[in-house]
């Protein structure tokens, strides 16, 4: 894979080789940093039997943007690994729930910090680690724990990805990325965990050398394909949503 110029002309081209059965991680927390355009392209590409890793399956908010649940609705997903697999209020309905309750898709529920750390561990060559999170809960039932310095910890395993979809504000042709504000969220750890990282980028792609080496958030060696997001309506951008105040 060339390190020289990773710019790809279209989202369709960027996701074309994703095979059935792949494990794909998605950056994003609420709207910021969510790779809407790549999700849409994956829906159009049609790969099936996928395992998807993301904070949430999405779809709780209006306007609805491309989300993991749409890929589930599309019949492409075998399993999701998320920090939210159901709503926490009876009055909320997640689009994912219908498919999950019908047994049409599997789900693994993981605390958000454990999810981020499992991805970071995969990227860092750490196959397993201990965490205090979820000890004493339903999630720890039947699983291996260990007492270290008098406290009980749960053993968690790295979660490597075949592909990561990320969204960044800025990129250079070498793949160095910068994120804007809370757009960063899961994106850098998804990129670390993946064999192939595909980035959709808000701004025009810069030539290599235009980004100061101290300003890079995700080094280009973690990024393999870059697509500039075109202006709306061709490209999908975060939109204002109704303010909710629960």
């Amino acid at each position: 894979m060339s390190q020289r110029n990773k710019v790809v002309a279209s989202f369709a081209e960027a996701v074309r080789d994703i095979p059935d059965g792949a494990t794909i991680g998605f950056g994003g927390f609420a709207m910021p940093g969510t790779p809407f355009n790549l999700i849409k392209a994956l829906a159009e590409q049609g790969a099936r039997n996928l395992t998807l890793v993301a904070n949430t399956t999405g779809g709780a908010q209006q306007p609805r943007m491309p989300d993991i649940a749409m890929l589930v609705e599309n019949g492409q997903v075998r399993k999701v690994i998320c920090a939210f697999t159901a709503a926490t209020r009876a009055s909320d309905v997640l689009p994912f729930t219908k498919y999950y309750e019908a047994g049409e898709v599997e789900a693994e529920l993981v605390p958000q910090g454990t999810l981020a750390e499992r991805m970071r561990a995969a990227g860092a060559g750490i196959p397993a680690f201990y965490t205090p999170t979820a000890v004493g809960t339903e999630l720890a039932e039947g699983r291996e724990t260990r007492v270290i310095n008098g406290r009980e910890y749960l053993l968690e395993y790295a979660l490597p990805l075949d592909y990561a979809f990320v969204r960044a504000r800025r990129a250079d042709t070498f793949g160095n990325l910068r994120f804007w504000r809370s757009q960063r969220n899961f994106n850098p750890v998804m990129a670390m965990a993946a064999r192939v990282t595909i980035a959709e980028v808000d701004e025009e792609i810069l030539p290599a050398g235009a980004m100061d080496p101290d300003d890079v958030h995700t080094p280009g060696i973690f990024v393999h394909r870059i697509v500039k997001v075109p202006p709306a309506p061709d490209g999908i951008w975060p939109q204002k949503r109704q303010e909710r105040n629960r």
């Binding site: 927390f29 609420a30 709207m31 910021p32 940093g33 904070n55 949430t56 908010q61 920090a83 939210f84 697999t85 159901a86 709503a87 926490t88 209020r89 009876a90 729930t97 999950y100 789900a107 529920l109 993981v110 605390p111 958000q112 910090g113 454990t114 981020a116 750390e117 991805m119 970071r120 965490t131 205090p132 999170t133 979820a134 000890v135 004493g136 809960t137 339903e138 999630l139 504000r169 994120f179 804007w180 504000r181 809370s182 757009q183 960063r184 969220n185 899961f186 994106n187 850098p188 750890v189 958030h217 951008w237 975060p238 939109q239 204002k240 949503r241 303010e243 909710r244 105040n245 629960r246």
Partner: protein
């Protein structure tokens, strides 16, 4: 976490205000989605608190005024917030390093139930398949103090302050204080101790609406 209109004692903002009064100068505080967010409205004088959001925002300020929103800047609830001078942004693994590493002085969360042994439950609705954990289990296990805000009873009058959680717990033995519309309560193991009563609420009313002993 339903509305409190017409219910006895403190309203939603007053419950949040009471918790916010516990914040000390220099604390790093994580506010969960919903009711806890209201803590950032409370006037706590010249005490300075740094708000941390699980998505990696350290030092956020009030909700952005309409028309000034940065759509790429949200708090844990997805609301568009502002940043205070000195703010910094990190990625998710670093954000939870901050949480798991014990840097959060207090976390404030909603809950369905709090037990007098310090357990609480807030991620899974009875009978649901799956749940919504988000950052709650990390925060609950690792923050120095866990503050809970919840209605004292369910809509049909069942106690939410109980001897033992019926729902799957988020963490065990971690709750520092729970604020309800009836007052502020401290789990002591076998009971809740009253730290404050809301105006017009009596100890007897609290005891009648609580699923375990209540100490004055």
């Amino acid at each position: 976490m339903s509305g409190t209109k017409g219910s006895k004692g403190w309203n939603r903002q007053q419950m949040a205000d009471r918790i916010a009064q516990e914040f000390q100068d220099g604390w790093i505080v994580n506010l969960g989605v919903g009711l806890p967010t209201l803590c950032s409205n409370t006037d706590i004088g010249d005490r300075e608190v740094i708000y941390h959001s699980e998505n990696g925002v350290i030092g956020y300020g009030p909700i952005a005024a309409p028309g000034t929103e940065d759509l790429n800047l949200v708090n844990a609830g997805g609301q568009n917030v502002t940043l205070k001078p000195g703010a910094a942004v990190v990625h998710h693994a670093d954000s939870f390093a901050i949480i798991r590493g014990g840097r959060i002085d207090a976390t404030v969360m909603g809950a369905y139930e709090v037990a007098c042994n310090g357990d609480f439950a807030n991620w899974k609705i009875a009978g649901a398949k799956g749940g919504g954990i988000g950052g709650a289990m990390d925060l609950a296990a690792c923050a120095k103090r866990v503050f809970i805000i919840l209605e004292h009873t369910t809509r049909d009058g069942k106690p939410r302050l109980v001897r033992q959680c019926a729902l799957p717990v988020t963490a065990r033995g971690v709750v520092t204080l729970a604020a309800t519309n009836f007052g502020l309560f401290e789990p002591t193991g076998e009971a809740f101790r009253v730290r404050d009563l809301a105006p017009g609420v009596t100890l007897e009313e609290v005891r009648a609406a609580t699923g375990c002993p209540v100490l004055a």
